[in-house]
């Protein structure tokens, strides 16, 4: 059976959970149910279905001229409140990810935000970064060529990669370089100084001249063309691009046509599709790409991408329905990205304090979650640089970059806090906890200790626990007592749920078990 053939093996909770973990953030039990309601193809089609866009971000507290509860995207730029509005945008994004239904859209939006990285610290306008995020979400399953073209004119990108200072007199190669190196074709081996196989330094210069003449307009938040800054001469590319010549355009329409020509030239190269498919694969499946995987997965998917004129949806469908994707070897081979770790726990266990009714309190909660992600090295709207998060490109470590002596402590502190020590939300003075009883209610028979452990393990880990691990977990609850003692304690609580003396011992044990399990190495993979 070929690697990309539609998976026909068992379609059980195990495989459905794998799909859910990789396409959303963590695991909500109802998403597994949804996935299992039909075939694997139906589940993937559902993930790829379009859904209505979320509303624009609002101010959670008064922000300059914008009062709490109102949108600020159309308000004028306000240097005094912009940093605050960035935090609003971050909370808004977290809210969308936490509340999402059964869809790949949000993880795909994050994929684009990483792949076509911009950072709010450089862009310095919250409206720009929110607008870009809205665009990426709307086009999450769209056409890559279209997305790259639109991002070329995106005001945030024009600022971030200095497109707005790229002029005929003083060409700025920044965007031209990253467009090729990071966004589309990628560097091949450097076969001569300045020749990266797929393109050369001369191609960077030529592309920079194609891209001259555009700045961002802060009023309309669109790209603005200044004919005087555009290099109208013809641009000749290297042999890597078949010595293509792009005719100089004289006016705005001509300059746009030049960019279309540039992208058409780049996207015509087979290396571009291969580069993009590898990027998708490393984001969703595994950072290690064996020769077999290259031959049986990457190359055919790249062909599929090109034959569909760079529509991404058929590739995503093929990947997530493939035999390759459901192979045991793919399950659990990723280090959980910080966003998956932080949001996953919240989405699985729904700690009540993280979902307050009041918008300003919700913002505190989400701001705290954002800080936790940021200290674990994945900050929303602020990847470390244009290359995005190094976990997705830095050879040979890739995902293992997420975990080091510092970040692992912070990751475990987060789950320790939420399970037992208390998670202190910004501007709140009460600690937040997972409701252990709710967490137990997600289990079919919480009164049976092995069921409790194995079903929590299913919610938290991509791989099952072995017997000695289950024993270690049991020992957390029972300290060597026979299994039925847990059933007795749980039964006593269920029969008298308002009795604190029955409830508290059960809670203490559940809390200790949650803490212990989320401290296991298995909780760091997905």
């Amino acid at each position: 059976m070929a690697a990309l053939d539609t998976y026909t093996g068992p379609w059980t909770r195990r495989e459905a959970a794998h799909l859910v973990r990789r396409t959303m953030f963590g695991l909500r039990p109802e998403d597994v149910t949804t996935a299992l309601a039909g075939t694997v193809s139906e589940a993937v089609d559902k993930l790829l279905a379009s859904s209505p866009p979320p509303t624009d971000p609002i101010a959670y507290t008064n922000s300059g001229a914008v009062t709490a509860g109102n949108e600020w995207m159309k308000a004028s730029y306000d240097s005094g409140t912009d940093a605050q509005r960035v935090t609003f945008a971050q909370s808004w994004w977290i809210d969308i990810m936490l509340q999402q239904g059964f869809t790949l859209r949000e993880k795909m939006t994050l994929f684009w935000a990483n792949h076509l990285a911009t950072g709010s610290n450089t862009v310095k306008d919250a409206r720009y970064i929110a607008q870009q995020n809205i665009y990426l979400r709307a086009n999450a399953f769209g056409n890559i060529k279209t997305i790259v073209r639109d991002i070329t004119f995106d005001p945030a990108m024009l600022r971030y990669l200095s497109g707005n200072t790229n002029t005929k007199k003083q060409p700025n190669e920044n965007y031209a370089r990253e467009l090729q190196e990071l966004f589309t074709i990628g560097k091949g081996p450097e076969i001569q100084p300045g020749n990266y196989t797929n393109y050369t330094e001369a191609d960077v210069k030529a592309a920079a001249r194609v891209l001259t003449g555009w700045t961002d307009d802060a009023t309309t938040r669109t790209a603005k063309f200044n004919a005087g800054n555009h290099d109208t001469s013809d641009k000749t590319f290297s042999a890597a691009y078949g010595n293509t010549v792009i005719k100089g355009g004289k006016d705005e329409a001509g300059a746009r046509r030049e960019i279309d020509d540039l992208l058409a030239m780049i996207f015509a190269q087979p290396a571009t599709a291969l580069f993009l498919v590898r990027k998708l694969y490393r984001f969703f499946v595994d950072y290690k790409i064996s020769e077999t995987t290259e031959a049986t997965v990457i190359v055919p998917l790249a062909d599929l991408l090109r034959s569909n004129n760079y529509d991404v949806k058929p590739v995503l469908r093929a990947l997530f329905t493939s035999t390759h994707f459901y192979d045991t070897e793919r399950i659990g081979c990723m280090i959980k990205p910080p966003i998956d770790l932080v949001l996953g726990v919240v989405r699985t266990f729904q700690p009540p304090d993280l979902f307050p009714a009041e918008k300003n309190k919700m913002h505190w909660a989400y701001r705290t979650l954002r800080k936790t992600m940021a200290t674990a090295q994945q900050d929303l709207f602020n990847p470390p640089n244009v290359a995005g998060w190094p976990a997705y490109y830095q050879e040979p470590f890739f995902h293992e970059i997420w975990i080091n002596a510092d970040t692992l402590q912070k990751r475990v502190k987060y789950t320790n806090d939420l399970s037992s020590d208390g998670y202190l939300l910004d501007e709140a003075y009460e600690k937040s906890y997972i409701d252990e009883i709710y967490a137990a209610s997600l289990v079919s028979e919480p009164g049976v200790i092995t069921t409790l452990i194995t079903e929590w393990a299913f919610l938290l880990f991509p791989v099952p626990l072995n017997d000695s691990q289950i024993e270690a977990c049991k020992n957390v609850v029972l300290s060597g007592l026979p299994d039925y003692e847990w059933s007795v304690e749980w039964g006593d609580y269920v029969n008298d749920p308002t009795n604190d003396a029955k409830l508290q011992p059960v809670r203490t044990k559940l809390r200790a078990l949650l803490r212990f399990m989320m401290g296991m190495a298995e909780h760091q993979i997905c």
Partner: protein, 523 residues
């Protein structure tokens, strides 16, 4: 002369005049200078807590020789033969498999405290464990542990700015993979769990017979490798473990006695120079509902084997401490969530009960037996419990005060109120009458007896505060008969029991010098 001995030798002189008034709180509130001295005197004191999980059967651990016939009648199928009991005093002896601890008793290194529990016992393992670990009342839920509160008091602000030069090591170490709830502090858990300092993480590390991908295995190994690296305290702990070698030859072969294995690590860490104050170790299997003496379903390891493990382990540990030259710094204490019923069941086991004896050991204990053997009714019912003589928090309070040198006011804060102090630590709190008094009913009589409707209770309490209460046979405190302050001497109290159903009850008199218990039969 070692510095702490010097301070021990001088500080009490300053304190003595204040001791005359018994437990008066203010008497123990030291001046800043004295407090500093005291703290430095106790700063290297270490407490090792041995939790006997499951509820240890106290009556078959410390056997009441002065009450042997009733003991034997109440639990014929599991009673320890009188001639095999290892005699400690005329009143009590140890289970025959505890020879090493008998020897420790003879050497003055073992304190036996009878009847430790709390009023109104809870028969849930979890709840009762929580009560012991948090030092709560039976009807009170507290989320922090008593050791955690003590460590938070001693090391304010933890874990912010820890480790630091003054305290480079974990405050508490739990041997095993789970940190004790007793170490839960107000801000953070104060403890750190160690399975074994050289193979940290090993329980969760077990390589897997379950089908997981090779790639998943690689990433798990990677995470674990970092996990081992990062533990901020791992380095000093590992260094300490590497620095010292156990010296005692009395430890049994590894993996034959789980408690000995754990205590061995503790001795090694202390000798290696760790400043850690509290160690917690466990021995499980005490939930002996059936086949208690022989082993079998319900009690896989016979109770005697468990007690033998305890005895061998504690003795080897004490021997090791001596050979390592650290014996004067370490005190050990056993505890269990509850004792078991007086009457055995028909499965050759015992069910969840109430008070039980506990052991404190070390070179710094006041040796001997504290408290009397329990009263055992002539016709014992399955519900009858060993009544409490000493509140377990009195043991905690005494250790906090006399071993960790915590001022009385702080102890009240840590345990939420004052508990009478017991004589456990050498040179510590005053000796209670229990060391001399053989008559467990000292100072209490009831007439007429048995009681039909009403009676007169006579008490003879020393000067000071007193509290007299009534417990039922299961150990519930059902009424406070009288409390207040007495100027000393005999007092008569009329008391009506007509509302009580017939059975055995206990009058407990707690006064400024100790506790007296008297069983009362209501017809």
């Amino acid at each position: 002369m070692k510095r702490r001995d010097f301070i021990k030798g001088t500080a009490p002189a300053a304190l003595l005049p204040f001791l005359i008034n018994g437990y008066a709180v203010s008497a123990y509130r030291p001046s800043p200078l004295l407090q500093a001295l005291e703290q430095s005197a106790c700063d290297d004191h270490i407490l090792v807590l041995i939790q006997l999980n499951g509820g240890n059967d106290g009556l078959n651990t410390v056997i009441p020789l002065d009450n042997y016939a009733l003991y034997n009648a109440a639990r014929t199928n599991i009673a320890i033969a009188e001639n095999t009991v290892l005699k400690l005093t005329n009143e009590v002896g140890l289970h025959p498999q505890m020879t090493q601890m008998q020897q420790m008793f003879a050497n003055g290194q073992l304190r036996v405290i009878n009847g430790v529990g709390y009023p109104t016992p809870n028969y849930s393992h979890f709840r009762s464990t929580d009560i012991w670990l948090t030092a709560s009342d039976y009807d009170q839920v507290i989320e922090t542990g008593w050791m955690g509160r003590f460590l938070d008091y001693q090391y304010p602000g933890f874990p912010e700015n820890y480790p630091n030069p003054a305290m480079p090591d974990p405050l508490a170490i739990q041997i095993g993979s789970v940190i004790s709830g007793g170490l839960e502090g107000p801000k953070a858990n104060m403890g750190m769990a160690f399975t074994d300092p050289t193979t940290y993480f090993n329980i969760v590390n077990g390589r897997t017979p379950v089908p997981i991908g090779q790639r998943a295995g690689e990433e798990l190994d990677f995470v674990r490798k970092i996990g081992v690296q990062i533990e901020q305290f791992a380095t000093p702990v590992k260094a300490a473990a590497a620095k010292a070698k156990n010296k005692s030859t009395l430890y049994p072969t590894a993996k034959t006695n789980p408690l000995a294995d754990q205590l061995k690590i503790v001795a090694q860490l202390i000798a290696g120079g760790l400043k850690t104050r509290i160690y917690v170790v466990n021995l499980s299997g005490f939930d002996t509902h059936s086949y208690q003496t022989t082993g079998g379903a319900g009690s896989p390891t016979p109770h005697g084997t468990l007690l033998s493990q305890l005895s061998v382990a504690v003795n080897a540990f004490q021997d090791d401490l001596k050979l390592l030259g650290i014996q004067d710094r370490v005190l050990g204490m056993t505890f269990s969530e509850f004792g078991r019923r007086i009457k055995s069941n028909s499965s050759g086991g015992t069910d969840h009960g109430a008070a039980a004896p506990l052991f404190v050991f070390g070179t710094n204990v006041v040796s001997g037996v504290l408290g009397s053997t329990p009263d055992i009714p002539t016709s014992v019912s399955p519900e009858d419990n060993v009544p409490m003589q000493f509140d377990f928090r009195s043991v905690y309070a005494s250790l906090l005060k006399d071993w960790f040198c915590v001022p009385q006011q702080a102890i009240s804060d840590l345990l939420y109120r004052d508990f009478p102090l017991l004589s456990i630590v050498k040179g510590g709190s005053p000796t209670s009458i229990f060391d001399e008094v053989v008559d467990r009913h000292a100072g209490l009589t009831v007439s007429p007896h048995p009681v039909e409707h009403s009676c007169t209770i006579s008490m003879n309490a020393p000067q000071g505060a007193y509290r007299m209460s009534m417990f039922d046979g299961t150990g519930r405190e059902i009424a406070v008969i009288s409390e207040g302050t007495t100027s000393g001497g005999a007092m008569q109290l009329p008391y009506t029991m007509s509302a009580f159903s017939s059975g055995t009850y206990y009058i407990r008199l707690q006064h400024s010098k100790g506790v007296a218990m008297l069983p009362v039969i209501k017809q």
